[in-house]
Symmetry: C7
Subunit: 95 residues, 7 copies
């Protein structure tokens, strides 16, 4: 099963917190703050959304920061995804 | 009796929760979380809605995820439907 | 006396609840849930409403579902009507 | 003294409640529900209002139903008027 | 010192309440209800305001009714003025 | 150090209250009401702001009245400035 | 790792408070008020954002004042950034 987003929507999966700390120590899930980084799983086709032409600027695999108060949490086969509009992605994280 | 949605509206019927868990165990209705998946029962014709041209991108039979806080619940002949705008459908679920 | 709606407005009259249950038993008014179905009594001419061209897609006699939180309740000669914008009608109920 | 409305505004005067009951019995003012009917006293010229072209569709003397939560109440020479935008008039009442 | 309004703004000065009662008795200020009438002291040039062309339709000296909840109260040299957008003026009062 | 406003923004500095009272008596700061007058320190270039062309109509040195609830207070080198959009300036005060 | 903002977004890093006081005395972090100045770390490409063409007017290295209630705080490798839309930057601070 997979999620195919419509319009300007983007499916995200939160990254594990150990990827967001610089030190080499890997902390277990509960002890860490909820990370703001997510990886893009699927990208909508863009096009006219709410009467406005939207060009998608992100790609599957991009690591991104998204606005905390945005999106719809979706549970599918024991995994949790967040579906946001591209406009709620504030930045791409590059290595 | 059937519901014929206007404009960019889409009639949904929530899927039973057993379809959303990967394990083979089928749990009775009360014990399960309310699923976010729904099947599309009817699709409006699109066209100019609120001054904006809308093209319908979903079809009858699509399984979709919709935004929890959207839509009008409708009871018709002992069945419950949800009518949402296409824009409140965040993703199609494909097998 | 009759109501002639302006612009994209539509005059509705709620249907009696017995029309919304499949069984043959007719229940008295108080014992029933408030139905969401209404019949269209009058349809505005459409045209430019709030700067946007609106084409009316519903007709007098259509049975419709409308959004619960929309509309102005109007009492006229001991009858109660609801006046809604066409956009607050979510679906037509067809037999 | 008279009120000359600007733009898409319309000056209304509430009708006495006895005009809204079908029976021949005339009830005194306090015993009656506040009527929703009003008579149009003056109509603005229409034109471009808030960047949108508005054509006036109501005339002085029309009896109308207006949205309860709209408008500015105005007292002038011991009379009370309500000034609403044409868009807040939901229907004309015809005999 | 004088106030020169920008764009679609209009400077008003509230009229004394005795002008709003028909009777010949002049009541002192505290005993009277706050009047809704005001006289126009200065009118902005209009033009493009918030991306929309606005033509000014009121003139200095017009007596007007304005929406109670609108405007910025300004004190200048012991006088109090109200600055409103033209759109918040609901009607001109003519003799 | 100086503030260079972007777009339709304008940097203001509140005027001392003694400039707003007609009498010759100069009162110390605490005893006076917060004045609504401000002097323009810097004016943005205008241009397309939020998709709308804005032409700047105020100049450095203008004394203006601005809307109380607008703007961002900025402290820079022990001075306090207010940065507002031109649209939040309701009037220019001329001598 | 670096943040690459999308559309009209701008990545900021708050400046240390000692840069905002004129005196030569450097105070430790806790004793100082949170500064409103920030330095621009990265600037989005602009283009069509929410249906409107946006031209970026700020550059990496600019010291700016931004609106306090705007933006998304982002933690990345023990550093804290703020991502704002260009429109939330009220002024550039020039030396």
């Amino acid at each position: 099963m997979k999620l195919v987003p419509l319009g300007d929507k983007v499916v995200l999966k939160q990254l594990e917190a150990e990827e967001t700390t610089k030190s080499g120590i890997v902390l277990p899930g509960q002890a860490k703050e909820k990370p703001q980084q997510a990886e893009i799983i699927a990208v909508g086709p863009g096009g006219v959304v709410d009467g406005k032409e939207v060009t998608m600027q992100v790609r599957v695999g991009d690591k991104v920061i998204y606005s905390k108060y945005a999106g719809t949490e979706v549970k599918l086969e024991d995994e949790t995804y967040i579906v946001v509009k591209q406009n709620d992605i504030v930045a791409i994280v590059e290595d």
